[in-house]
């Protein structure tokens, strides 16, 4: 019985086709290409080749190393974490509409950030946290939501994923009420900050902000990817996966914690960026297949790639002004997604 289960397990999951490997390889190349293009392009006039040859001025170096490079890296890791968290949560909930927002993590982070934007100045006038206050508050908000979910679902175990989804929706709604109240009591200037924050932006990121986020997100990715084969088995249903030797509780726990912290860190630094977490996994499935060993890294790469390009557009389309990146991700992604769906239907 055990050996049959093991062989079944391997036949479902160990398999990653050569086509999928090729797609992953291409996505890797695209990601690196877009990183290079994004670092080489911008409104400030400088050339990366001159920089490598040491021919750039001090100011150009600052613009490149302190403003542009951290921004490109941030967009890449945020895209990767939203993409992979979306894929993992869709797998976990066996629901194609699941996205990182669904379990309430984004809403929790948003509530934390909103609190700081609206009442922070009154309550922490002497705390010189400055630009760290907002990310720290957002992460605390996300952590609080995960903690609430954990308590309410008795360690994510109570009555399966449907219950968990419903609790997530309720938590989302509660956070939404909080944000609504704060929006209502906000002053003119605060309201405008809020509006821009909810559209997302990678502007103004600095290394001291970026490094902790990179650490959090990389640790999450490292914990998430080994769950791929367990996620495949979970598609059979929780009792079946359990009988095949998967510790369903632990899988749920690790996936929710890791994706929540990755998403929390992302939202904290870049605001609310919709679309990527929901649609990128579908794009990756449409072009390659549904097994998570391919899907998880594929979604991370595709998310990174899409986000870097979207941020590039947000920087250069209206330069020297910039467009909120959330607008661009949806503007690029949704028509492409529609096109893919129609193409699949015709075949």
């Amino acid at each position: 019985m055990i050996s049959r289960a093991l062989s079944l397990k391997s036949s479902i999951t160990e398999f990653i086709s050569s086509k999928q490997l090729l797609i992953l390889f291409l996505l890797c190349i695209f990601t690196f290409l877009s990183i290079f293009i994004a670092i080489g392009t911008g409104s400030y006039d400088l050339s990366v080749i001159n920089f490598l040859l040491g021919k750039t001025s001090g100011l150009q170096n600052i613009v490149l190393l302190e403003i542009r490079v951290p921004r490109v890296i941030l967009s890449a890791i945020v895209g990767a974490s939203l993409g992979i968290a979306g894929a993992a949560l869709q797998g976990l909930f066996r629901n194609p509409l699941a996205d990182p927002g669904l379990i309430g993590v984004s809403a929790g982070a948003a509530l934390g950030a909103t609190t700081i934007i609206v009442i922070g100045a009154n309550f922490f006038p002497n705390l010189y946290l400055g630009s760290f206050l907002l990310p720290v508050a957002a992460i605390s908000g996300a952590c609080f939501v995960i903690f609430m979910l954990y308590v309410l679902t008795k360690g994510f175990g109570y009555q399966g994923v449907t219950y968990m989804l419903l609790v997530g929706i309720a938590v989302n709604a509660i956070a939404g009420v909080g944000i609504g109240i704060l929006t209502y009591i906000s002053s003119d200037a605060e309201l405008r900050s809020l509006t821009f924050w909810t559209m997302g932006s990678f502007g103004g990121v600095t290394w001291p902000l970026l490094v902790p986020a990179i650490i959090i997100i990389f640790i999450s990715l490292v914990f998430l990817i080994p769950n791929a084969r367990k996620l495949d088995l979970l598609q059979l249903g929780e009792p079946e996966a359990y009988r095949l030797g998967i510790d369903v509780q632990r899988v749920k726990l690790s996936i929710i914690f890791t994706s929540a912290s990755a998403v929390g860190a992302s939202v904290a630094l870049s605001g609310m960026i919709g679309f990527v977490g929901l649609v990128v996994p579908h794009l990756v499935r449409l072009i390659g297949g549904v097994n998570h060993k391919y899907l998880l890294p594929g979604s991370a790469l595709m998310g990174a790639c899409l986000m870097i390009i979207a941020d590039l557009f947000s920087r250069i389309l209206l330069q020297p002004a910039e467009i909120p990146v959330g607008l661009i991700t949806s503007a690029i992604g949704s028509p492409f997604f529609l096109w893919l769906i129609f193409r699949m239907k015709r075949l």
């Binding site: 821009f196 502007g203 902790p212």
Partner: protein
Amino acid sequence: MKYILTLFMAFSFQQQVFAVECSAASDATRVTVAGGSITEIMYMIDAEDSIIAVDLTSNFPERARSHPQIGYVRALSAEGILSLDPTIIIGENDMGPPAVLEQINRTGVEVAIVPEEHSVLGVKAKVKCIAEIVNKKIEAERLFEEKLDPAINKLEIASQKVLEKNTKAIFILGLQSGSPLIGGMDTSANGLIEMIGAKNVLSSFEGWKPVSTESILMAEPDVILISNRGLSAFGDVESLRQHPALALTPAAKNNNIIAMDGMAMLGFGPRTIFSALNIANDILDIND
């Protein structure tokens, strides 16, 4: 998690404080402006030659719009601004995001934030502040002597008369899901209404809020102030007078509705003083 939070905290104390408030810039030859009233003042004190870029709210004078556009004052882009090679950025107090200003400041570009106060004194201070920064004090003196001080004196007399008439006013910014969006306490609209000597009858709340039909009827405003853009949300003055929330107010019955350009009224540059004078004169004419 704890470790990461401490890491956050540790880094956060390294922040530097920027912003030279109202002291002469070391180099004001290439100025990026973030704030409509500042652009307005720059033009009035003959400092327009040093302007290299403006933000979205800088729509007066008309020719200011021909400068490169750095976008919305609260969502500036560090690299975009630096690409214009400015020596200083002069912005209103809501310029941001702070992280972007910090990045810009680190490259050696000065960042000056002009204090904002919604009163006649506030406007005067703003003009003096900007003149100090760009070193145009003589031109500012001339602006005061020729245009501002006479207008301020007339406004003082007119607002005194408006005050004696016990005029009740409200300011409508536009419509939000059918309800008029009204300027309460601590808004530029409240400052304008006080400037003309009227009483803001809907100032029990802070900021801009949609206000219910009943509250507006209760308030019985004698005058309704509205920005041109706000008026276009209603259609025209006639449809504004027929809006259910406003139709029964004294202002709508007597057709005391004053519509003007939003930035001219609420920007709190010199134009706000001229607008306030016009509004006060309007009210006095209408009431006589």
